[in-house]
Symmetry: C2
Subunit: 97 residues, 2 copies
Amino acid sequence: MVYEMAHISVQAGKNAEFEAAVAQALPLFHRARGCTAVELQRSVEEPNQYVLVVQWDTLEDHMIHFRESADFQTWRGLVGPYFEKPPVVGHTQVVVK
Amino acid sequence: MVYEMAHISVQAGKNAEFEAAVAQALPLFHRARGCTAVELQRSVEEPNQYVLVVQWDTLEDHMIHFRESADFQTWRGLVGPYFEKPPVVGHTQVVVK
């Protein structure tokens, strides 16, 4: 299992629209191959900063199967208009729990 | 519920020692007031970068009750020697799920 951690900066004043767009887009993740969970987290200290945390079975499920899908284009179409700048995306794996 | 997200850079070659120290320190979190989960994640792209993700009932449970405890000093004593630089710590809350 890998986590996708997408750090997203949202334009000032666009929080409600952005969060609604993510809620609308959830089914795209729920039906994606290898996606087992998704949640949007908002920073307490910097309220225009978000982290989209997505659990994928494998890195390829995210980077190939999802990124190259029509659903990824739909996702970006829904949320992209609210981005302040391109998201910074990385992946992590649990090593101690 | 808030997540503590502590971004930790570990000195080159110290990964195994750092991860062992975190494993050793887990009981400090398990007994902390308001702490409901803790896990250490390691970056896939940058293997010396980690995220310690801790679930707290409230911000105060982390920032006051834990940070001002003797257990926090013990935690820093265990893992601090492996830090490359001071951790960057923030908090998030789930807004869409």
